[in-house]
Symmetry: none
Subunit: 224 residues, 2 copies
DNA sequence: GACCCTACATTGCGGCTACATTACGGAGAG
DNA sequence: CTCTCCGTAATGTAGCCGCAATGTAGGGTC
């Protein structure tokens, strides 16, 4: 199991490398975005651990390039910024998981194994449910090949539900995914988005349903 | 699943309680160390969320006392101080995990579940009885793979009985698991939940039965 | 066995809360 | 200016849940 670690702080890099080696992993460490790009082109890594704060830019910009070169490779973003906005930003950019520093090494290893265990289908960046398809890379939905255009908020709701299809998404998670930190909401705005999205999904015969779990959140599933 | 939250900031406490409640947990909130000690002596909580900055001292001093009273109970320390030094201090004092504010509620819940799973960590966290399966991690029940949806209280009853399958659960234990301190009830509400749960279990042909032990409590077992 | 007391079972009702849906108006883009 | 998006609020609806009334079964005593 060979891992690419993109991290500029030497202390952190050494510690992580040691820990991962202890778990029978082979770690290649690079400190910059440029070197990371070069390393990934060798196409020998099964996963990428990506710090955001790098000397030559935000680690997130690397994600699309990684996706272009090695489509299904799992990416876990590491960051000192634990704010929700950043978390969402990370996942929106196509990362597979996100870990805020400080974190337990055990947790990192656990999540790494989790993303590596995932079936190949999940790693594809085109989610399909019913007649609906969602291109995570371009953030576009389509029904039976026809573009299914949605306003921003509704698209965020749909994407968030799709990323956790068949499993309940907490109402709070949904709010966090749709609204940034300083967007203050004091109404049932989220409900209206869900409602409008529902109508459009049925009108387009997307073949998916949004169920409500009372007191908990929502869940998207294939309709029958 | 009943949790003790030790937190003095009302705003944070309210938010956390609400969030945890959304995950089908029962939360008792106390704002001081003294009250925390008293609450834990009731011995009904399965985990403790402990803030460090409390009006009557550092939350860490509570840990040895908790360990004395409730040996294996998981403790997660919450703190505004996210420095590594503090982290180590927290773990050194015997906490099971450590979370720096601000944190995502989802992450807290995930870690809470992780530490609660730990004793049974080697086993799969999917309890199976008859045709019924209960996913402890996601707090979802299913019958033969089909989702088996239940309201909050009934789910709590089912989970509590499942965790002690084949053994009688005291009526008082069940009440403690389902209701928090201030949820005090004065009727046979618990019985009605058991009744409704029974009906749903038979309707879904779950293959389990809830037996009553007169004057003692209830017991869940495989129905032949 | 007759009787009674108590614990449990079951059901319907009402209040409460969460959710669904619709209409409206403001704000920003073109 | 016009159109779309989106937050707000009002209104309607459904589900949960505590409560109480009524029925049933267990177990004790005589």
């Amino acid at each position: 199991m060979r891992i690419l670690l993109v991290e500029d702080e030497p202390e952190m890099a050494v510690a992580l490398s040691a820990a991962l080696k202890g778990h029978d992993m082979v770690v290649d460490h690079v400190p910059t975005l440029a070197q990371a790009e070069e390393a990934i082109s060798a196409d020998v890594h099964r996963a990428v651990l990506l710090d955001r704060q790098l000397p030559d830019g935000d680690g997130l910009v690397l994600i699309p390039k990684l996706r272009a070169r090695a489509v299904g490779i799992p990416i876990i973003v590491l960051t000192a910024r634990g704010e929700l906005v950043d978390r969402v930003a990370g996942l929106d950019h196509g990362a597979d998981d996100y870990l805020a520093k400080p974190f337990a090494v055990d947790e990192l290893v656990a999540r790494l194994r989790a993303v590596l265990r995932r079936p190949a289908g999940m790693q594809c960046d085109l989610l399909r449910v019913g007649r609906l398809a969602f291109d995570l890379a371009h953030r576009e939905a389509s029904v039976e090949g026809r573009p299914f255009q949605l306003p921003r908020r509704e698209l965020l709701v749909l994407e968030t539900l799709l990323r956790r299809i068949g499993r309940t998404v907490l109402r709070s998670s949904l709010e966090e995914a749709v609204y940034s930190f300083d967007d203050e909401i004091q109404s049932n705005a989220l409900d209206t988005h869900v409602s409008r999205l529902r109508r459009k999904l049925t009108e387009a015969q997307a073949g998916v349903e949004i169920h409500n779990i009372r007191g908990v959140g929502y869940l998207l599933k294939h309709s029958r």
